[in-house]
């Protein structure tokens, strides 16, 4: 008996359960993004992003980290580098050891800080982007 290959992949399912919810969330995300560009509709943009968050929680959708990182957890504004978020690397240790580096995303609206301890594991790859994961678009 030949051992089964670990990477042997089956075909991805054709039918997506609760596709309507996913469609609604992408629509809300794109709308929030569109309105975030103009200061006039900034509040609307945050409102849409809040609905997005609520829908995804209520219907238990899995959102990729890449998408979630572009929204502020506190004020729900869309975080665009240069416009609504400031990014810097900080090292609070006295010795300035490189493993204490952390990347910081600071929302310019509510000053909420999101820390990514990038020095801890330089080879870190987000679970959704690892090789053993299928990436079929529909």
């Amino acid at each position: 008996m030949a051992p089964k290959k670990p990477n042997q992949q089956k075909k991805a399912p054709k039918v997506i359960p609760h596709k309507d919810n996913y469609a609604r969330v992408t629509y809300l995300y794109q709308a929030a993004n569109l309105f975030s560009a103009s200061p006039k509709y900034e509040v609307l943009s945050r409102g849409l992003a809040r609905t997005l968050d609520l829908v995804s929680k209520k219907t238990v959708l899995k959102l990729s980290p890449e998408l979630k990182r572009t929204l502020c957890k506190k004020c729900n504004s869309v975080l665009i580098p240069g416009l609504s978020v400031s990014i810097y690397i900080e090292n609070l240790s006295k010795s300035k050891a490189p493993h204490n580096d952390s990347l910081i995303h600071k929302c310019l609206k509510c000053h909420e800080i999101k820390r990514f301890p990038v020095g801890k594991n330089r080879a870190y790859v987000v679970f959704a982007e690892r090789d053993d994961v299928r990436s079929d678009a529909k």
């Binding site: 992949q9 991805a12 992408t26 995300y29 959708l61 240069g82």
Partner: protein, 274 residues
């Protein structure tokens, strides 16, 4: 007596194994695909492509420009270490202030530039006004493949786009091939130097500017075009779904009538065969 007790215990253990204890480690699992919603706006292929031969040329030019700065930095360090008798201060290269080295200084300069041109969020402070009034950071070099994790460099395409002066005069983002970080660090005399930015008025770098302008495309982010053109209409992107290949335990259903009917038939068939 003792045997029958043992049998009873085993039965109990088996029935418990279904409800998640250490004993069901070897429980059967089946592969499932979980849908995960991805960002509808493409993030990965935003970096302008650089041909390998062009990249080599760019690195050569860049190192030439950075070499005097590296020398100057070394001299400064030596001066600090030596005694005060040697008071002759070396003269800095003319374009010393036009070159930014490192992540924080580059990103800070680009953000200041973005707030100046977009005038969106916080009003510019005094320091920003003085620093960004004269020079325009136009060329950003990133050793994308030498810097991990990728989240550090992933913001550069959008950042360079938002900090551009106008759609015609955009900030150029240049990705440098693997292994360039060591070259840059050597020349500059600093460790782990993977990000360099140049302003657009260094006379020594004009050949480099021409090379970049002719060979490297402008960065384009379609979903952010609204910042330059208010009337711009964005098309709705398709649903971007990924499937995560994971596994789920096979848990027999409780009160499954079909399964109950089938189970007694299985052992009889086995005995017949043997």
């Amino acid at each position: 007596m003792s045997n029958s007790q043992k049998g009873g215990k085993e039965k109990k253990a088996n029935s418990k194994a279904i409800s998640g204890s250490l004993k069901d480690v070897d429980q059967k699992r089946r592969q499932v695909f979980k849908p995960i919603l991805d960002n509808p706006f493409t993030q990965s292929n935003l970096w302008p492509f650089v041909k390998p031969e062009v990249a080599d040329n760019i690195i050569e030019h860049l190192l030439q420009i950075l070499a005097p700065i590296g020398k100057y930095n070394k001299l400064l360090v030596e001066l600090k270490q030596s005694t005060r008798s040697n008071s002759l201060k070396p003269s800095a290269p003319t374009y010393y202030d036009d070159v930014l080295v490192g992540f924080n200084s580059t990103v800070k300069a680009l953000e200041d530039q973005a707030s100046l041109y977009r005038r969106k969020k916080e009003p510019a402070t005094k320091r920003q006004k003085t620093s960004s009034s004269s020079k325009y950071i136009k060329y950003v070099f990133v050793t994308k493949y030498d810097i991990t994790p990728t989240i550090i460099t992933s913001s550069f395409p959008t950042l360079t786009y938002t900090s551009s002066k106008s759609p015609e005069n955009r900030v150029k983002l240049i990705q440098l091939p693997r292994g360039t970080m060591t070259k840059l660090s050597e020349v500059l005399g600093q460790t782990n130097c993977g990000i360099v930015a140049l302003s657009n008025d260094i006379s020594e770098a004009i050949p480099l500017y021409n090379l970049i302008e002719s060979e490297i495309k402008d960065i384009d982010i379609p979903w952010l075009s609204g910042i330059f053109d208010e009337d711009f209409k964005i098309e709705l992107q398709d649903l971007a779904l990924k499937f995560l290949a994971t596994s789920a335990p096979i848990i027999p259903k409780k009160n499954d009538q079909k399964a109950k009917k089938k189970t007694p038939a299985v052992p009889t068939e086995d005995t017949r065969d043997s």
